[in-house]
């Protein structure tokens, strides 16, 4: 295990200390708990948006806490849910009287804890709504969308909700656009190498030197085909086709594209992938409003990538175009 770290059991807390030290004017904590990260400033009457999830996915989840995106994030151990108590503390800290929206990925532990936190928040008289992101088409067939894992596409859900909340819209409205984004995004990934959970110390799965797994999840969940490493163009074809057919995305549609690196895959390779994505979309008459390429949801040092499409309507386009500014993501106003 080649990691630049100190003791494995301090991995998450030392990372958080580093993040807070690096961004002292942007982030702070709630309840004196390092694992309850909240935005430094507050906007009266704004709906609060909270997320939460396991560590090891930077910039997910806490990296999107900031202007135009999220207000708070509870942070779990590596690939572990934070506790409902931590979620509650974040909820209390970010509520401005307008209620709080939870946006998180579709994983058992997170769901149970966010549900528990919701119940506790109710007791504290804070209105809470939830939107669960699950858009990995490899993880469950069409018709069983509710079982799908949440992966990089949650970025778009955050962005839409964050921009809407900034207009001081109601909790219902913020939830509506978050759900709309969640409903219109689809993702497929490919993994080339595993990653290692610091406290475990060895990879949770193995892939041979010339192997890849299409559809693998960001914690190493099984994919839909394991086989020899193919060319970039072939890999993209195998990833993009199921995505296109699922929603489906077709002629005349306008999309935003997210090519996400899982950790160890160089940007060079992501752009080689995008080249093919662009060809295919152009061929199908699907126009591209905006392309995001980089690391948005990682698995530490895992090599691999995912491709997400978000189908846009005028409202989502406008929300996506709004500026954002977090320690891990900056965007100026996009021209429409």
């Amino acid at each position: 295990m080649k990691k630049i770290m100190n003791k494995a059991e301090n991995f998450v807390d030392e990372m958080l200390e580093g993040i807070l030290a690096a961004h002292p004017t942007e982030l702070t904590i709630a309840a004196d708990d390092l694992r309850c990260i909240i935005k430094a400033g507050k906007t009266p009457n704004k709906v609060g948006i909270a997320t939460g999830g396991g560590s090891g996915h930077l910039p997910l989840f806490l990296g999107y806490v900031g202007e135009g995106m999220l207000d708070g994030c509870s942070v779990g151990g590596v690939f572990q849910s934070p506790s409902s108590t931590q979620m509650l503390e974040v909820t209390k800290a970010i509520d401005q009287g307008a209620g709080v929206l939870y946006i998180y990925g579709n994983y058992g532990g997170d769901i149970l804890n966010f549900n528990m936190a919701s119940e506790m928040a109710e007791i504290e008289d804070i209105r809470v709504e939830q939107v669960i992101a699950g858009e990995d088409v490899a993880s469950a067939p069409k018709g069983e969308e509710g079982k799908r894992r949440g992966v990089a596409g949650i970025f778009f859900v955050y962005k839409a909700a964050g921009a809407m909340a900034d207009t001081l819209a109601s909790l219902d409205e913020v939830k509506r656009v978050a759900q709309k984004a969640a409903d219109n995004v689809r993702t497929m990934g490919v993994a080339l190498t595993p990653c290692i959970v610091p406290e475990v110390g060895k990879p949770s799965f193995t892939l041979e030197d010339d192997e890849m797994e299409i559809g693998m999840g960001i914690h190493g969940e099984p994919g839909i085909s394991k086989g020899p490493l193919k060319t970039s163009d072939k890999i993209v074809d195998e990833m993009l086709n199921p995505v296109l057919q699922d929603l489906p995305y077709g002629t005349g549609d306008e999309v935003a594209v997210l090519i996400n690196g899982l950790g160890a895959t160089p940007k060079e390779e992501l752009y080689i992938m995008y080249r093919r994505v662009h060809h295919i979309l152009t061929e199908k008459g699907i126009s591209v409003f905006k392309v995001y390429i980089g690391e948005f949801a990682t698995s530490m040092e895992m090599a691999g990538a995912s491709v997400s499409l978000l189908k846009l309507d005028q409202e989502l386009k406008e929300l996506l175009s709004k500026p954002a500014n977090t320690p891990f993501f900056e965007q100026k106003q996009l021209s429409l």
Binding site: F79, S83, L112, A140, S204
Partner: protein, 213 residues
């Protein structure tokens, strides 16, 4: 152990903790097959925290104590199983509010609420290859024994055996929840780690009750 008071509860939780310590590597391995290999670690954390709470508490209302114990578990082990077990203790405890001694009847009430709480939180029913598949038959056996006026040691022994049967039965089920569900049909034939934890809970209860009798 004819009835369970605070002292007996301390014995039971001490046993629960020791059993989870002992089964740590086994659970890690089981969860490694279709999960993320953390179950041994989280269960150890969960029952270490639970045991600390029970041992240090002077709370005579056992319902309250069990509920608080659940809350401690929720903080210490926020994984799927940790949170479900926490929910179980919280809901089970709530059903025993204002109880200072537990007979086999109260024990059945406790585990009914425990199991129902987990089913509600997990949005699941028996048959989906989860902890419920151990808890549910065990609870039925417990209820049966209680209405037959069996003693606590006897009732828990029968419940534990039913739980073991549930674990066996779970092997042939197809996973509908959690990481194992991604394996779909491939999950058939594999033993469910969560059901195994369910059986361990009854094992510890039964062994504590049967050790001194």
């Amino acid at each position: 152990m004819n009835t369970i008071g605070l002292n007996e509860l301390k014995t039971i939780f001490d046993g629960l903790k020791k059993l989870m310590d002992e089964k740590r590597e086994y659970l890690i391995e089981l969860d490694g097959v279709m999960g993320d290999s953390d179950l041994g670690i989280t269960m150890q954390k969960a029952f270490t925290a639970a045991n600390e709470e029970v041992q240090s508490s002077g709370e005579q209302d056992l319902g309250k104590l069990l509920m608080k114990t659940g809350m401690k578990i929720a903080q210490a082990a926020p994984s799927t199983m940790g949170t479900l077990v926490a929910t179980g203790f919280m809901k089970g405890g709530k059903a025993l509010f204002k109880t200072e001694t537990i007979s086999s009847k109260e024990l059945a009430v406790f585990f009914r609420a425990f199991t129902q709480g987990i089913m509600d939180a997990g949005k699941t029913v028996p048959g989906n290859k989860t902890i419920v598949d151990a808890l549910h038959p065990a609870t039925l056996a417990l209820e049966d024994a209680a209405s037959g006026n069996k003693s606590i040691p006897e009732a828990l022994k029968l419940a534990y055996e039913a739980a073991i049967g549930g674990v066996e039965a779970s092997k042939q089920m197809k996973a509908q929840h959690g990481r194992a569900a991604y394996y779909q049909d491939k999950s058939i034939g594999v033993q469910d780690p969560g059901a195994t934890v369910g059986a361990f809970i009854f094992q510890a209860f039964s062994e504590a009750a049967n050790s001194g009798k």
